[in-house]
Protein backbone atom coordinates (compact mmCIF):
# COMPACT_ATOMS: atom_id res chain seq x y z
CA UNK A 1 0.00 0.00 0.00
CA UNK A 2 1.45 3.32 -1.06
CA UNK A 3 1.45 6.05 1.56
CA UNK A 4 2.10 9.72 0.90
CA UNK A 5 4.75 10.53 3.48
CA UNK A 6 6.79 7.42 4.07
CA UNK A 7 6.44 3.73 3.25
CA UNK A 8 4.68 1.84 6.04
CA UNK A 9 7.37 -0.47 7.33
CA UNK A 10 8.14 -1.73 10.81
CA UNK A 11 11.01 0.71 11.18
CA UNK A 12 8.86 3.69 10.27
CA UNK A 13 6.04 2.71 12.64
CA UNK A 14 8.42 2.30 15.57
CA UNK A 15 10.04 5.62 14.63
CA UNK A 16 6.64 7.33 14.56
CA UNK A 17 5.79 6.05 18.04
CA UNK A 18 9.15 7.07 19.48
CA UNK A 19 9.05 10.54 17.86
CA UNK A 20 5.56 11.24 19.19
CA UNK A 21 6.73 10.15 22.63
CA UNK A 22 9.63 12.62 22.34
CA UNK A 23 7.20 15.34 21.31
CA UNK A 24 4.85 14.67 24.23
CA UNK A 25 7.79 14.56 26.64
CA UNK A 26 9.14 17.90 25.38
CA UNK A 27 5.68 19.49 25.69
CA UNK A 28 5.24 18.30 29.26
CA UNK A 29 8.68 19.50 30.19
CA UNK A 30 8.47 22.94 28.59
CA UNK A 31 4.91 23.85 29.59
CA UNK A 32 5.79 25.28 33.06
CA UNK A 33 8.15 27.76 31.38
CA UNK A 34 5.50 29.20 29.08
CA UNK A 35 4.54 32.08 31.35
CA UNK A 36 5.66 35.44 29.98
CA UNK A 37 8.03 37.61 31.98
CA UNK A 38 7.02 41.16 32.85
CA UNK A 39 10.36 42.91 32.49
CA UNK A 40 13.92 42.15 31.53
CA UNK A 41 16.31 40.99 34.19
CA UNK A 42 19.98 40.24 34.51
CA UNK A 43 22.43 40.94 31.71
CA UNK A 44 19.70 41.80 29.18
CA UNK A 45 18.44 44.67 31.33
CA UNK A 46 21.94 46.13 31.57
CA UNK A 47 22.48 45.79 27.82
CA UNK A 48 19.17 47.48 26.96
CA UNK A 49 19.61 50.32 29.42
CA UNK A 50 23.18 51.24 28.69
CA UNK A 51 23.77 50.22 25.06
CA UNK A 52 23.38 53.70 23.65
CA UNK A 53 25.52 55.31 26.32
CA UNK A 54 28.31 52.78 26.49
CA UNK A 55 28.61 51.88 22.82
CA UNK A 56 26.94 54.66 20.87
CA UNK A 57 24.86 52.26 18.78
CA UNK A 58 21.06 52.29 18.70
CA UNK A 59 20.59 48.70 17.54
CA UNK A 60 20.96 46.77 20.80
CA UNK A 61 21.44 43.45 18.99
CA UNK A 62 24.36 44.94 17.03
CA UNK A 63 25.84 46.29 20.26
CA UNK A 64 25.64 42.82 21.81
CA UNK A 65 27.11 41.03 18.78
CA UNK A 66 30.00 43.39 18.11
CA UNK A 67 30.80 45.00 21.45
CA UNK A 68 29.64 43.13 24.54
CA UNK A 69 29.94 39.63 23.09
CA UNK A 70 32.34 40.21 20.19
CA UNK A 71 34.35 37.18 21.22
CA UNK A 72 31.45 34.89 20.32
CA UNK A 73 31.20 36.54 16.90
CA UNK A 74 34.90 35.84 16.41
CA UNK A 75 34.21 32.16 17.07
CA UNK A 76 31.37 32.21 14.60
CA UNK A 77 33.41 33.63 11.73
CA UNK A 78 36.12 31.08 12.52
CA UNK A 79 33.54 28.33 12.07
CA UNK A 80 32.46 29.87 8.74
CA UNK A 81 36.06 30.07 7.58
CA UNK A 82 36.73 26.45 8.55
CA UNK A 83 33.64 25.22 6.70
CA UNK A 84 34.49 27.17 3.53
CA UNK A 85 38.03 25.79 3.65
CA UNK A 86 36.69 22.25 4.05
CA UNK A 87 34.32 22.56 1.11
CA UNK A 88 36.99 24.13 -1.10
CA UNK A 89 39.28 21.24 -0.16
CA UNK A 90 36.64 18.67 -1.09
CA UNK A 91 36.02 20.21 -4.50
CA UNK A 92 39.45 21.39 -5.48
CA UNK A 93 39.14 21.59 -9.26
CA UNK A 94 41.81 23.76 -10.72
CA UNK A 95 40.19 25.23 -13.79
CA UNK A 96 36.74 26.61 -14.49
CA UNK A 97 35.36 24.79 -17.52
CA UNK A 98 33.78 26.77 -20.33
CA UNK A 99 30.49 24.96 -20.64
CA UNK A 100 27.62 27.17 -19.58
CA UNK A 101 26.22 30.05 -21.61
CA UNK A 102 23.85 31.46 -19.02
CA UNK A 103 20.25 32.46 -19.60
CA UNK A 104 18.68 34.40 -22.49
CA UNK A 105 19.71 37.94 -23.39
CA UNK A 106 16.45 39.27 -21.92
CA UNK A 107 17.40 37.85 -18.53
CA UNK A 108 20.88 39.28 -18.86
CA UNK A 109 19.53 42.75 -19.60
CA UNK A 110 17.15 42.57 -16.66
CA UNK A 111 19.91 41.42 -14.33
CA UNK A 112 22.23 44.18 -15.51
CA UNK A 113 19.51 46.68 -14.61
CA UNK A 114 18.86 45.21 -11.15
CA UNK A 115 22.36 44.36 -9.98
CA UNK A 116 23.41 47.86 -8.80
CA UNK A 117 20.24 48.19 -6.71
CA UNK A 118 20.76 44.83 -5.04
CA UNK A 119 24.36 45.80 -4.30
CA UNK A 120 23.17 49.10 -2.81
CA UNK A 121 20.57 47.31 -0.69
CA UNK A 122 23.11 44.85 0.71
CA UNK A 123 25.67 47.58 1.38
CA UNK A 124 23.13 49.73 3.22
CA UNK A 125 22.10 46.82 5.44
CA UNK A 126 25.76 46.29 6.36
CA UNK A 127 26.72 49.92 6.89
CA UNK A 128 23.66 51.03 8.89
CA UNK A 129 23.77 47.95 11.10
CA UNK A 130 24.25 49.85 14.32
CA UNK A 131 21.19 52.10 13.79
CA UNK A 132 18.51 49.94 12.14
CA UNK A 133 17.84 46.18 12.18
CA UNK A 134 20.47 44.41 10.15
CA UNK A 135 24.21 44.21 10.25
CA UNK A 136 27.08 42.23 8.85
CA UNK A 137 25.47 38.78 8.66
CA UNK A 138 22.25 39.85 7.00
CA UNK A 139 23.89 42.20 4.49
CA UNK A 140 26.59 39.66 3.69
CA UNK A 141 23.91 37.13 2.78
CA UNK A 142 22.31 39.63 0.37
CA UNK A 143 25.70 40.24 -1.26
CA UNK A 144 26.27 36.49 -1.61
CA UNK A 145 22.84 36.21 -3.24
CA UNK A 146 23.94 38.83 -5.77
CA UNK A 147 27.09 36.86 -6.63
CA UNK A 148 25.09 33.65 -7.06
CA UNK A 149 22.53 35.42 -9.27
CA UNK A 150 25.30 36.81 -11.50
CA UNK A 151 26.80 33.34 -11.86
CA UNK A 152 23.45 31.79 -12.79
CA UNK A 153 22.34 34.49 -15.25
CA UNK A 154 25.62 35.08 -17.03
CA UNK A 155 27.00 31.55 -16.94
CA UNK A 156 30.58 30.65 -16.19
CA UNK A 157 32.01 30.85 -19.69
CA UNK A 158 34.71 33.13 -20.94
CA UNK A 159 32.23 35.89 -21.75
CA UNK A 160 30.22 35.29 -18.60
CA UNK A 161 30.72 36.45 -15.07
CA UNK A 162 34.47 36.53 -14.80
CA UNK A 163 35.37 35.49 -11.27
CA UNK A 164 38.99 35.66 -10.27
CA UNK A 165 39.43 33.18 -7.46
CA UNK A 166 42.61 34.62 -6.11
CA UNK A 167 40.77 37.89 -5.48
CA UNK A 168 38.10 35.98 -3.61
CA UNK A 169 40.64 34.30 -1.31
CA UNK A 170 42.30 37.63 -0.61
CA UNK A 171 38.98 39.24 0.34
CA UNK A 172 37.96 36.42 2.64
CA UNK A 173 41.21 36.56 4.57
CA UNK A 174 40.94 40.36 4.59
CA UNK A 175 37.58 40.18 6.35
CA UNK A 176 38.88 37.86 9.06
CA UNK A 177 42.07 39.86 9.61
CA UNK A 178 40.16 43.14 9.82
CA UNK A 179 37.96 41.67 12.55
CA UNK A 180 40.95 40.40 14.52
CA UNK A 181 42.91 43.62 13.95
CA UNK A 182 40.15 45.77 15.42
CA UNK A 183 40.04 43.50 18.46
CA UNK A 184 43.80 43.62 18.90
CA UNK A 185 43.87 47.43 18.91
CA UNK A 186 42.32 47.33 22.35
CA UNK A 187 44.84 44.74 23.52
CA UNK A 188 47.78 46.79 22.29
CA UNK A 189 46.57 50.01 23.90
CA UNK A 190 45.95 48.33 27.24
CA UNK A 191 42.15 48.53 27.57
CA UNK A 192 41.26 44.93 26.75
CA UNK A 193 40.48 42.65 23.80
CA UNK A 194 37.61 44.11 21.69
CA UNK A 195 37.10 47.16 23.87
CA UNK A 196 35.10 49.82 22.09
CA UNK A 197 34.64 53.31 23.51
CA UNK A 198 37.23 52.90 26.26
CA UNK A 199 39.92 53.47 23.63
CA UNK A 200 38.47 56.86 22.83
CA UNK A 201 36.95 56.59 19.36
CA UNK A 202 35.33 59.96 18.50
CA UNK A 203 31.53 60.09 18.44
CA UNK A 204 29.37 62.47 16.46
CA UNK A 205 25.69 63.27 17.02
CA UNK A 206 23.54 60.45 18.41
CA UNK A 207 21.78 58.49 15.70
CA UNK A 208 24.06 59.43 12.83
CA UNK A 209 26.19 56.95 10.97
CA UNK A 210 29.47 57.95 12.66
CA UNK A 211 28.59 56.55 16.08
CA UNK A 212 29.19 53.23 17.70
CA UNK A 213 32.96 53.16 17.86
CA UNK A 214 34.28 50.13 16.05
CA UNK A 215 30.84 48.55 15.44
CA UNK A 216 30.53 49.80 11.80
CA UNK A 217 34.04 48.51 11.01
CA UNK A 218 33.21 45.09 12.47
CA UNK A 219 29.95 45.08 10.50
CA UNK A 220 31.90 45.66 7.26
CA UNK A 221 34.41 42.91 8.13
CA UNK A 222 31.66 40.38 8.89
CA UNK A 223 29.74 41.44 5.75
CA UNK A 224 32.79 40.83 3.56
CA UNK A 225 33.47 37.50 5.23
CA UNK A 226 29.94 36.11 5.06
CA UNK A 227 29.35 37.39 1.51
CA UNK A 228 32.56 35.94 0.10
CA UNK A 229 32.29 32.74 2.13
CA UNK A 230 28.75 31.82 1.15
CA UNK A 231 29.29 32.65 -2.52
CA UNK A 232 32.51 30.65 -2.63
CA UNK A 233 30.63 27.65 -1.23
CA UNK A 234 28.28 28.01 -4.20
CA UNK A 235 31.12 28.38 -6.70
CA UNK A 236 32.90 25.29 -5.38
CA UNK A 237 29.75 23.24 -5.90
CA UNK A 238 29.00 24.80 -9.32
CA UNK A 239 32.46 23.89 -10.54
CA UNK A 240 31.75 20.27 -9.67
CA UNK A 241 28.54 20.17 -11.65
CA UNK A 242 30.39 21.20 -14.81
CA UNK A 243 33.53 19.13 -14.47
CA UNK A 244 31.88 15.95 -15.70
CA UNK A 245 31.98 12.26 -15.03
CA UNK A 246 35.44 11.41 -16.25
CA UNK A 247 37.50 13.93 -14.30
CA UNK A 248 39.27 13.12 -11.09
CA UNK A 249 38.43 15.12 -7.98
Amino acid sequence: MKSIFAPITLRNSVALVLVSFVGWWLWRGLLPFASPAEALSGAAAHYVNSAEIETGARNVVAAILYDYRAFDTLGEITVTFAVVTGIALLFSARTLKVSKEGLSSLAKRGMALMAPFILLYGASIVLLGHLTPGGGFQGGTVLATLAILLCIVYGTGKRGSQMNFKTKDVFESLGAMLFLGVGLVGLVLGTGFFSNLAIGYPQWTQGSIATGGHIPVLNVAVGIKVGVGLSSIFFSMAKVLEVGEDDEL
Partner: protein, 115 residues
Protein backbone atom coordinates in the same frame (compact mmCIF):
# COMPACT_ATOMS: atom_id res chain seq x y z
CA UNK B 1 -4.05 35.77 26.26
CA UNK B 2 -0.37 36.20 25.67
CA UNK B 3 0.29 33.03 27.61
CA UNK B 4 -1.73 31.23 24.93
CA UNK B 5 0.46 32.84 22.24
CA UNK B 6 3.62 31.62 23.90
CA UNK B 7 2.16 28.12 24.33
CA UNK B 8 1.26 27.97 20.64
CA UNK B 9 4.77 29.12 19.78
CA UNK B 10 6.28 26.37 21.93
CA UNK B 11 3.97 23.82 20.31
CA UNK B 12 4.98 24.95 16.80
CA UNK B 13 8.66 24.63 17.54
CA UNK B 14 8.20 21.20 19.13
CA UNK B 15 6.16 20.00 16.13
CA UNK B 16 8.84 21.26 13.71
CA UNK B 17 11.51 19.49 15.73
CA UNK B 18 9.59 16.21 15.72
CA UNK B 19 8.85 16.36 11.99
CA UNK B 20 12.56 16.90 11.33
CA UNK B 21 13.49 14.02 13.63
CA UNK B 22 11.04 11.67 11.90
CA UNK B 23 12.39 12.71 8.48
CA UNK B 24 15.96 11.91 9.50
CA UNK B 25 14.99 8.48 10.80
CA UNK B 26 12.59 7.30 8.13
CA UNK B 27 13.89 8.51 4.78
CA UNK B 28 16.30 6.50 2.66
CA UNK B 29 17.57 9.29 0.43
CA UNK B 30 20.47 11.12 2.08
CA UNK B 31 19.36 14.51 0.74
CA UNK B 32 16.05 14.15 2.56
CA UNK B 33 18.00 13.48 5.75
CA UNK B 34 19.66 16.86 5.33
CA UNK B 35 16.24 18.48 4.89
CA UNK B 36 15.19 16.91 8.20
CA UNK B 37 18.29 18.38 9.83
CA UNK B 38 17.28 21.83 8.53
CA UNK B 39 13.80 21.44 10.01
CA UNK B 40 15.21 20.48 13.40
CA UNK B 41 17.50 23.50 13.43
CA UNK B 42 14.58 25.76 12.47
CA UNK B 43 12.48 24.44 15.33
CA UNK B 44 15.19 24.98 17.93
CA UNK B 45 15.97 28.52 16.73
CA UNK B 46 12.27 29.42 16.77
CA UNK B 47 12.07 28.24 20.37
CA UNK B 48 15.14 30.28 21.26
CA UNK B 49 13.58 33.51 19.97
CA UNK B 50 10.18 32.87 21.60
CA UNK B 51 11.81 32.51 25.04
CA UNK B 52 12.76 36.19 24.94
CA UNK B 53 9.23 37.47 24.37
CA UNK B 54 7.62 40.05 26.66
CA UNK B 55 3.95 41.02 26.14
CA UNK B 56 3.34 44.38 24.39
CA UNK B 57 7.03 44.87 23.71
CA UNK B 58 8.85 46.52 20.81
CA UNK B 59 11.97 45.36 18.95
CA UNK B 60 15.26 46.34 20.63
CA UNK B 61 16.12 49.45 18.59
CA UNK B 62 16.74 52.50 20.69
CA UNK B 63 14.10 55.20 20.18
CA UNK B 64 11.66 52.90 21.99
CA UNK B 65 8.19 53.72 23.29
CA UNK B 66 7.67 50.64 25.47
CA UNK B 67 9.62 47.86 27.08
CA UNK B 68 11.93 46.03 24.67
CA UNK B 69 11.99 42.31 24.00
CA UNK B 70 15.06 40.43 25.19
CA UNK B 71 17.88 41.09 22.71
CA UNK B 72 20.17 38.29 23.88
CA UNK B 73 18.31 35.34 22.27
CA UNK B 74 18.03 37.32 19.03
CA UNK B 75 21.78 37.94 18.91
CA UNK B 76 22.62 34.30 19.50
CA UNK B 77 20.02 33.14 17.00
CA UNK B 78 21.76 35.23 14.32
CA UNK B 79 25.03 33.44 14.97
CA UNK B 80 23.27 30.07 15.06
CA UNK B 81 21.52 30.66 11.72
CA UNK B 82 24.85 31.31 9.97
CA UNK B 83 26.47 28.28 11.59
CA UNK B 84 23.45 26.15 10.62
CA UNK B 85 23.74 27.22 6.99
CA UNK B 86 27.45 26.36 7.01
CA UNK B 87 27.00 22.90 8.48
CA UNK B 88 24.19 22.08 6.04
CA UNK B 89 26.52 23.12 3.19
CA UNK B 90 29.26 20.81 4.49
CA UNK B 91 26.79 17.92 4.87
CA UNK B 92 25.59 18.40 1.28
CA UNK B 93 29.18 18.51 0.02
CA UNK B 94 29.93 15.23 1.80
CA UNK B 95 26.81 13.64 0.27
CA UNK B 96 27.99 14.71 -3.18
CA UNK B 97 31.32 13.00 -2.55
CA UNK B 98 29.48 9.88 -1.32
CA UNK B 99 27.50 9.82 -4.55
CA UNK B 100 30.67 10.12 -6.57
CA UNK B 101 32.22 7.22 -4.67
CA UNK B 102 29.29 4.79 -4.42
CA UNK B 103 27.08 5.82 -7.33
CA UNK B 104 23.98 6.06 -5.13
CA UNK B 105 22.58 8.12 -2.26
CA UNK B 106 20.29 5.39 -0.97
CA UNK B 107 21.40 4.67 2.55
CA UNK B 108 20.19 1.05 2.57
CA UNK B 109 22.37 0.27 -0.43
CA UNK B 110 25.37 2.09 0.99
CA UNK B 111 25.23 0.16 4.26
CA UNK B 112 25.55 -3.07 2.33
CA UNK B 113 28.70 -2.05 0.49
CA UNK B 114 32.12 -2.60 1.94
CA UNK B 115 34.70 0.04 1.12
Amino acid sequence: MSEMTIQMGFATSIILFCIGLFTIVSKRNLFKTVIGLTLMEGGVLLFLVIVGYIPNAVPPIHPAMAVMTNPLPQAFTLTAIVIGACDIALALALIMKVHRHYGTVDIDKIRGLKG
